[in-house]
Amino acid sequence: MISRRSFCKKSLLIAGGLAIPLSCLELFDPKRLLAEKDQKGPRWVFLVDTRKCVGCGFCVKGCKVENEVPYDANVTRTWVERYVVTTDGKTHIDSPKGARDGFPNKGIDIGHGKLEEIKDEDIDKAFFVPKLCNQCDNPPCVQVCPVGATYQTADGVVLVDRKWCIGCGYCIMGCPYGVRFFHPVFHVAEKCNFCYHRITKGMQTACVDSCAFGARRVGNLRDPDDPVTRIIMTERVNVLKEEYGTKPQVFYLGLSKEVK
């Protein structure tokens, strides 16, 4: 026989537990649902021309200074990778300090301060690939956030609320492109946000402004006359890890199969 005391205790527990999901309930607002369908305002996209990049790393330096990512910490919102494919079919990849100082050595950085030297005549092809947040249309990092600290704005940029983030790190694990990291000062998730404070003022991102070779460009996909949109619509562009279904919005020209 169940005692009155235990019945009260258990019903209290169940009712309390049921009330938690109830607290998340919100009624549908048709006006808001309609607003969601409205395709007004920009949709920021990025175009990287890997054929133009020479690996100077000015973009990484500019980004770190502009966005106050501690300069000497080995974390960065954007970075440049070097791919050296040798005649024996091997691909050597490195990105010393995220290419903050460019690529000062001919040898490939294999960690622990060691360099792997490659003979000039062994090189089949070599190129540089800048990487940054893809501001996916289906951002997995946003889906996994348990508190609503990371979200996507109407113009497609994924932002992190530094005040709201609890630092659980799910989003860092969830990003298939590895663009997220913990900010060494704020101890919350940090990522590239296309220099949101710049693009919303009509400026270019810091990395675009610091690129002397035109390898990086930012544009508005909802403007058919935008030069970046025209290239994305008419030229042979590619995206990273398409198979994940994240619908990345950073488009690459001249991508090679070695790039993952």
Binding site: E26, G57, K61, G62, V65, W164, D209
Partner: protein
């Protein structure tokens, strides 16, 4: 009906009310679903403005040209014309008010970013003018012999 049904039910209702009150107090007023809907839009709306209010540090050449038209004109014709002033001079911030003067990066490492020779065929880097920093006048600043605003000119004026 006997009170053994009503009393726990009352407790349940109080618990639900407490959770709802706590939610009202703890969750900011502007927290809700944003433009991207339930799956991607949950956030504190005020945070968007907080990101927009971040200070712009790199002001671009458009900011420099009003006070330094001579340098701007010199750069316009130079093979280095695509390099932004602030890449070497540092972010303008609120220059000339704060900082009053910028610290120019005249280091070899800065030039070496592009001009270290890397023998890469089919890459823009492979056809760039490059040197080996270890053997090319080691120890000397590049600007001793090369004028960075226009590398076709020789020497630094100082």
């Amino acid at each position: 009906m006997k009170s053994h049904v009503w009393r726990p039910l009352l407790v349940v209702l109080v618990v639900i009310a407490l959770v709802l009150v706590a939610r009202k107090v703890l969750v900011p007023a502007d927290f809700g679903i944003g433009a991207r809907g339930y799956m991607y839009g949950w956030h504190r709306a005020g945070n968007e403005q907080q990101w927009k209010d971040m200070p712009v540090k790199y002001k671009t050449a458009a900011h420099c040209k009003d006070c330094h038209p001579d340098k701007y004109e010199e750069m316009k014709e130079s093979p280095h014309r695509n390099i932004n002033c602030e890449n070497c001079h540092g972010p303008a911030l609120d220059h000339p008010k704060d900082p009053h003067s910028l610290t120019v990066d005249r280091s070899r490492e800065l030039c070496a970013r592009c001009h270290t020779r890397l023998p890469y065929p089919n890459s823009g880097r492979g056809i760039m003018k490059g040197i080996d920093p270890k053997t090319h006048n080691a120890g000397l600043d590049c600007v001793t012999c090369h004028w960075p605003h226009d590398p076709r000119k020789e020497g630094h004026k100082r």
